[in-house]
């Protein structure tokens, strides 16, 4: 029941946000926050719940953007269908990466996924339309002939997807699959002895996180209508990782909160002018030093303690 309350609060926030915020600039940031939330949620499932680190999420984000954009632009594939095909391509890439990489652990896995991200980055540079300068004129999302060009409708589209995937993810977390996934995070030996096929499960979660990133990439491309490889570099993977860690890896809502903060922060720091990067760095450093578990888990802990004290 309490879980449903969370969902309802989130839904209400999503619905009223465009009414509170009238200017297009802020709405755009809101849309980017939603897109980043999708990628961060995938990584949160993989890292926070299943305990597998990835520094290659930008690679899947890039596949999602490029494949969907090229399909729509060059082959006239309807936009939502193009995103689905892109997600399948990402899933396939995830399998190819996961089979060898998930035999590795911790830092080694991180480095292998980092290598994957770099490979995708190089491919986009060398083989992508327009090479390093990218390409434009990517078709926008359209539903039954109606083009989704308005900021508000795109905001609802993105956050609608975020909302559905939050519910989907929580359902996974609280299912046999999610329990097994959290179990392998704690002990792989103890899990395989209970009949949990550890490597098969890891591959599946890896695919899921790749699909989340891919969907985000596709909707990014069709929103911004111009893409170039720079967006999908290692820096973006690190940024996604930062979102998950700042928000709190052990909680899916943490990924969303982290994504919002990391997206909004650089914009909010504009008033510091040339010092903005410095302040940004300081905020991140201090939040990692003082709220190690991330914002959401720390807040929950505080609330729980307070609740106990009151009772």
């Amino acid at each position: 029941m309490r879980k449903h309350v969370n969902y309802i609060v989130l839904l209400v926030l999503i619905i009223i946000f465009p009414f509170l915020i009238k200017d297009n600039y802020t709405l755009t940031i809101g849309i980017f926050a939603g897109i980043n939330s999708l990628v961060a949620m995938g990584l949160s499932l993989l890292m926070g719940y299943a305990g597998q680190v990835s520094l290659g999420q930008a690679g899947f984000y890039g596949i999602g953007a490029y494949v969907s954009a090229i399909l729509a632009l060059k082959f006239g594939v309807p936009v939502v269908l193009s995103a689905i095909v892109a997600a399948l391509v990402s899933a396939f890439a995830a399998v190819l990466l996961a089979i060898p990489a998930l035999k590795l652990k911790g830092h080694y896995l991180a480095v292998a996924t980092l290598g994957f991200g770099e490979i995708i980055y190089i491919i986009l540079n060398e083989l992508g339309p327009g090479g390093p300068s990218g390409f434009g004129d990517i078709p926008q999302v359209s539903f039954m002939g109606y083009k989704m060009t308005g900021q508000i409708s795109y905001f609802y589209l993105i956050w609608g997807i975020v909302f559905i995937l939050i519910i989907f993810s929580y359902n996974i977390i609280n299912s046999r699959i999610g329990r097994a996934m959290r179990a392998i995070h704690d002990t792989e030996t103890g899990s395989s002895a209970m009949g949990v096929d550890v490597s098969a499960l890891k591959i599946k979660i890896f695919i899921l996180s790749a699909v989340y990133a891919s969907i985000a990439g596709s909707f990014y491309a069709h929103y911004i209508t111009f893409i170039s490889p720079t967006t999908f570099s290692l820096f973006h993977s690190v940024l996604i990782l930062t979102m998950v860690v700042i928000g709190g890896a052990s909680n899916l809502f943490g990924a969303v909160v982290g994504a919002i903060i990391i997206t909004v922060l650089p914009e909010a720091l504009r008033k510091f002018e040339e010092l903005d990067v410095l302040v940004y760095g300081l905020i991140l450093t201090f939040s990692l030093l003082f709220i190690r578990k991330g914002i959401v888990p720390t807040l929950l802990q505080r609330l729980k303690k307070k609740g106990m004290a009151n009772a």
Binding site: N171, I177, A180, S192, M194
Partner: protein, 254 residues
Amino acid sequence: MLKVEGIWKTFGGITALMDVSFKVESQEIKAVIGPNGAGKTTLFNVISGVYRADRGNIYFNEKKIDNLNPVKIARLGISRTFQNVELYGHMTVLENVMVGRYCKTKSGFLSCGFRLPNMVKEEREIRKVSEELLEYVGLYDKRDYLASELPIGSQRILEIARALATEPKLIMFDEPASGLNDAETKELSLFIKRLREEKKLTIILVEHDMGLVMDISDNIVVLNFGEKLAEGTPGEIRNNKLVIDAYLGEEELE
């Protein structure tokens, strides 16, 4: 039920198991004892598929299992606990047992993600069976605690409950009494006997607590430096000259 035939296992230059053979009958309680480093845990790891034997065969209900991985062996009905308790510390007591139901259920990603009716039904079943097991072992009141919050004795019991959730025919306990006080050990021995009676289980245990071993075992295998030194009933083992020299020593045995 279980037949271990001429098992050899070496690690680098060290021979951990040397031509070990024995049989376990259905609903028997078999203890494996021996000094530290005798190869007891290695033997468990070979049976449960964590390690592969260099030579030898293992049959479970006439089926050859020595070439199978731990997942397949668990699914065939051999479950186990661990010397260093391998629970899921960040999950609740109930969730730990529910993971044990994983191999008996099959909802996929889409069923789970959208909570389709078949998954909801299965989920209800998982919860029911797990709660019943917690009640059976006496940890139902603690179901919402994190596994890591339990005292060691309860953790060992929880590991047993989780193993039971996989509906094993054979269950292997690796030092179930270690870390327990005398009263808890006494309780454990009653509990293991009860398991055999009520769940029709076959049990193999590795244990150092001789009181417990002599009390509950039907049959004992003694390992020493990887070799089987002796096998027999508690009475026979207690009076075996070789065993006394190698392991039991001159201490008084009740």
